[in-house]
């Protein structure tokens, strides 16, 4: 589990877009030992599940069908199998959106939509998940449930998450990428974090408090 942090416009989304192949880029990187530029479009979709920051749907599909479309790479391209349907049911239950399955996606609230989309991406069942602000608009109860699902998966999957809540990130994630001004500034583990570096990255004076063996991050007035 990797947390990707940085101020707005610092390059986090660009980084994820590039990694998922949604944006042209110079250079290359390797996925599963192979150069990304040499992998076909379909193959990269089989390896990487990507949740963009803003998603839109312009057909009145129900939530179940939205999650089902995440199984496209596993289908034969013409029809979804029984297994795709049962996996979709499982994913929806896991993300606590099964009760919304017959509702129109576009009629859901912002947070519900986000959870449905998250269930959709996880339904792709890829090795790598790149999630751009998956927690935006989601209530704290579900944030905790979702991050718990990530933790259960952390041994088998790579999950890279753009996140803004520092305390939440420090508590749940073990590795961090920090961006500033379009540059990847630090790649740090939890132990390497210190207030000075964070203040430098975010441009706000940041301090740590420890309570009940848990780190909290506070910011000072400018």
């Amino acid at each position: 589990m990797v947390g990707v942090l940085g101020n707005n416009g610092s390059g986090k989304s660009t980084f994820l877009n590039v990694l998922s192949g949604q944006m042209d880029f110079a250079g290359d990187y390797k996925v599963g030992g192979r150069k990304f530029q040499e992998i076909s479009h379909t193959e990269s979709a089989r390896q990487i599940g990507f949740l963009p920051q803003e998603a839109a749907l312009n057909m009145p599909f129900d939530a179940f069908y939205v999650v089902l479309t995440g199984r496209f790479i596993h289908s034969d391209g013409r029809i979804y199998s029984e297994q795709d349907v049962s996996q979709t049911e499982k994913a929806m239950k896991r993300f606590d959106v099964y009760h919304l399955k017959d509702r129109l996606f576009n009629a859901l609230s912002g947070g519900e939509k986000q959870r449905v989309l998250l269930a959709r991406v996880m339904n792709m069942d890829t090795e790598i998940f790149l999630l751009d602000e998956p927690f935006s608009g989601i209530d704290i109860l579900h944030q905790i449930r979702i991050v718990d699902i990530f933790r259960q998966l952390r041994m088998e999957k790579i999950i890279m998450v753009v996140i803004h809540d520092l305390s939440f990130a420090i508590h749940h994630f073990s590795r961090f990428l920090f961006f500033r001004d379009g540059l990847l500034l630090y790649d740090m583990s939890r132990d390497e974090l210190d207030p000075q570096k964070l203040s430098d990255i975010f441009g706000v004076r940041v301090g740590f408090v420890e309570q009940d063996k848990r780190m909290f991050v506070y910011t000072e007035e400018i």
Binding site: H41, F50, P52, M59, Y65
Partner: protein, 316 residues
């Protein structure tokens, strides 16, 4: 629901075949009636059905490509640019090549609208409509200019502008049938992809759909359908807008339902409107069918803009 559509098509087909300037009893025809039936009535009704199916399907495809419910061959200006191609063929006296000229005109117009309206791969709906209007206006102006230049071709040109099925022949029916089959086969395996294309491009693409390739294919199929329809029956507006929208309201939402349904619904609608066009006036006079579809379509378009704004908003 599918059954309802099929019954509607069958009813329209039988009514279209038996009613007209000469009423024909399908079960007991005289020799004259038989001639009228096989040489005139049948090819015409079949052509109406095929053109309706082609226009409705092309409308659906345009709506997938443009991600916009207001897109069809008429609003994107493709009909008008196809007609311009057809008129150029008439001017040059190349009657047999009318569909090819229409195709060239249609593709060129489509490319232009697409380039103007797309911003980094996303199509801006409002820009698309404006570009479509500009293209239509330009094509109409060019057609008027050519009408002015050539006196002899005027009546055939007017025919293209109004739209109608008077010039139906069995061979045209067969070619158009072939074009529809070809287009349909081209996209038949892509139902799931079409549904995924309804998401934003990034989501669709990262789900495993090659968005650009699919879009090009859809564009080509839609332009092919439009051009041959225009080449054989002139400009008939709004069919591609009305039919898919009504079908979506009737819960044909997924591509696997919507595409076949639009073929059947389009055919039924067109046969029925052609029947109205050729029977509404007394003594065998005909109204151009485009007049009827455009007037129904215009009102419908207005209804869409006013009543279903919320839904249109989803498309942005």
């Amino acid at each position: 629901m599918r059954l309802v559509l099929l019954v509607a098509l069958l009813t329209a087909f039988v009514a279209g075949l038996s009613t007209g300037a000469v009423k024909i009893n399908l079960l007991n025809m005289s020799d004259i009636e038989r001639n009228i039936f096989f040489d005139v009535r049948l090819p015409r009704v079949v052509l109406a059905g095929l053109v309706g199916a082609a226009l409705a399907l092309s409308g659906v495809l345009f709506q997938y490509v443009m991600k916009n419910p207001l897109a069809d061959s008429f609003t994107t200006g493709v009909s008008a640019s196809s007609a311009m191609g057809a008129v150029i063929a008439i001017m040059l006296g190349l009657m047999p090549y009318i569909p090819l000229f229409a195709l060239a005109g249609g593709l060129a117009g489509l490319y232009l609208v697409y380039r103007i309206a797309s911003d980094r791969g996303r199509i801006q709906p409002i820009t698309m409509l404006l570009a479509g209007i500009v293209l239509s206006t330009f094509a109409s102006a060019t057609i008027s200019f050519m009408k002015f230049l050539s006196d002899d071709a005027v009546s055939s040109i007017i025919f293209w502008l109004m739209g109608g099925f008077q010039a139906a022949t069995v061979s045209k029916d067969m070619i158009l049938f072939g074009v529809i089959c070809l287009s349909f086969l081209l996209i038949r395996g892509d139902y799931l992809k079409l549904d995924i294309l309804c998401f934003d491009d990034t989501t669709a693409s990262s789900t495993g759909v090659n968005v650009h390739r699919l879009r090009k294919k859809l564009f080509f199929a839609a332009a092919l359908l439009t051009s041959f329809s225009v080449g054989y029956a002139g400009i008939i507006g709004f069919v591609g807008l009305i039919i898919p929208h009504i079908l979506r309201l009737g819960n044909f939402v997924k591509a696997s339902y919507l595409l076949p349904a639009s073929l059947i619904g389009g055919a039924a609608f067109m046969i029925a409107t052609d029947l109205i066009a050729r029977t509404i006036l007394q003594e065998g006079q005909e109204l151009p069918v485009g007049v009827i579809t455009s007037s129904i379509g215009g009102v419908f378009f207005l209804y869409l803009l006013i009543k279903r704004r919320k839904e249109l908003f989803y498309f942005n």
